[in-house]
Symmetry: D3
Subunit: 144 residues, 6 copies
């Protein structure tokens, strides 16, 4: 069962929705995490920005593919929520401005569940013209 106080997805979402809550949340739970921002018309740059931050902050290791694989799929799942139907940005004439958060820890009551990853994205998506945009959210969860 998910532990009510350790819902890792909810915490990652709070990190992208509320900038002030950040530091204490991560420390309180004993979780590892990072936050950052990225704006682009290229989905691959969003992926790269999150991967770079997660490796730099030690959320995932750089020497094992299995951790990169877990993060990659969590990022793509979060991007599905942002793009809602097609993982495309500039190729269909739209751009994103996103705040991202990655959290790593065990959200389950059973300690044997080990670590999971949550990737949260929040920001705007729209035409490549300032103001012609609306909000978007995404969350990807994966075991690691």
């Amino acid at each position: 069962m998910l532990h009510a106080d350790r819902r890792i997805g909810r915490q990652a979402l709070m990190l992208v929705l509320d900038e002030d809550a950040r530091a204490e949340v991560i420390q309180k739970q004993g979780w590892i995490g990072c936050v950052g921002k990225v704006g682009s018309m290229d989905a691959h740059k969003v992926v790269a920005a999150i991967e770079t931050a997660a490796k730099r902050e030690g959320v995932i290791g750089e020497d094992r593919y299995r951790e990169g694989h877990a993060l990659y799929h969590a990022i793509l799942e979060a991007l599905q929520g942002v793009t809602r139907g097609s993982l495309q940005l500039g190729s269909v004439l739209r751009t994103v401005g996103l705040r991202f958060a990655v959290l790593r820890g065990n959200p389950y009551e059973n300690t044997e569940e080990g670590d999971w990853l949550a990737v949260a994205l929040y920001g705007t998506i729209g035409a490549p013209v300032k103001g012609l945009e609306h909000e978007a959210i995404g969350l990807g969860i994966n075991h690691i």
Copy 2:
């Protein structure tokens, strides 16, 4: 431009992430909205539950198709975030337990932008066995 204090998507997300904030948020902004819960292996039951609540609470009118059309597409977009790739639940052996919120109002600085709809979903998705599930989020935004 989106008005920093009237980000309708963020407010709808807070309504599904934090149960206590609900009533005051909706009233403070002069927005119309509703919240509710739905659990199902049928995506069409999730759609129906949200549509029924939104009509009952007066978020959309029952006599004009254009408002139902706006809500329907916002719901499907929110479900894309929850399902991340394929709008299917029981047909691929998974189920959801979701809290939903619908907000209606103008999130832009320009008053001529008129009303927009935000549909937020938060809860769990997973196997039809209690505990074999993780969190999921979704947000659909549409003009109305």
Copy 3:
């Protein structure tokens, strides 16, 4: 090159958009074809209705899988235009009322191109309530 007067897709579309033009068009070109109607919340019933009509009218043979395979993929492609993103009807709480046409013939200047199939769909898609719907179109083209 496509022959300007034998654009098979355009002719199939005219058959679903304009009921009066039907018979003469099919005969004039020496094409084989059929038209019909189907309304359903089940995509598989739309597929079955078109397959049944096409076999009954001799547009495709019943004894060779290759012709059924060509028709099946043309139908699914036409349904993509109708559903615009997800080949689902009732499972996302929507229904269709469609007129369909299937034409078989060679639309190319080169006679060696042989027969091709065009499946056209036109009608409405929307909530399972009369009037809460809008128009939709679809066209699938395949070699046969």
Copy 4:
């Protein structure tokens, strides 16, 4: 209910299928509309061509995002019909040559339904070699 004589999608489709019918149709109904052509291996150029024409001809206003948002989603839905499964052109080695039409008006019997948009696309899709292509259609409908 859709008004039998004001089916906006059907009219937009006739505009792309039959070049001669154009002007009188738009004027007869009191509708606003535009037609044009675009050929590209980039989906974003198709989107841009239609958006530019619609703004230039006054079909949508340039100062309100809600109208651009309505048009954008109608265009993407029409492109789903053309691409049938994946909103990609050059990235999967194919190109389109399309005639497009955008119409704005009320297709419903109820005058309170207000304006709707229809985006119709018709032309060819295929390999980036002249003649190695077949026909394609698409229609997107949205409230505005």
Copy 5:
């Protein structure tokens, strides 16, 4: 790097393509695995059949969600190869007859990569009439 002799996906594929090679392959590598057959018009029955076999044969544990989560996503990825565009069977009037294999082990040279899962599917997909079908393959790989 993938170890040339321990390509887990290739081995799982050989298990579904060649019935005779099965037992020795699994034992030779020190891998855990299972094979089986399933035929259905319901994708959820394919998922359930593979999950049941994998748990019964001890390929994944029953008490930890993280292993079920890894297997579920590997199954869905394999089904993408079989269905090629839409994870639907009976709802678009088609059925599958599949042989499946699940293998668990480390395919990488680096022993720290730990266990991975490979789910391979091979068989036929087509109309619900014997013979009106062609072959299909799928492979899903996930860390566990």
Copy 6:
């Protein structure tokens, strides 16, 4: 019915999974075929590499669009198995290294079924860093 000894998809898969079996298989069945390799972050280069090889080896004719059309769709279907959800490579920061095979012949007992095409792909997909990748498979079957 598929002829047990002439399963064209299985043979194409064996050609990409086992390099030694190649030549004799193609000759034994009286089939036409080709094999090759391609690595790229651009899906269109994978498509082009297979099309070029198939034309050069005489698997499909260069003068008839219907054969190119059959091959194109078989390639895209095979790529669905490799990409599992979205036909994108570099645009979502991943690359492939693939061995491909194309076979042409009649896999059915009924000689009237004529020629069919099988396109098989096998190799790796992953981050654009050597070693950060796992295996992938794909198979597309089409009548020709």
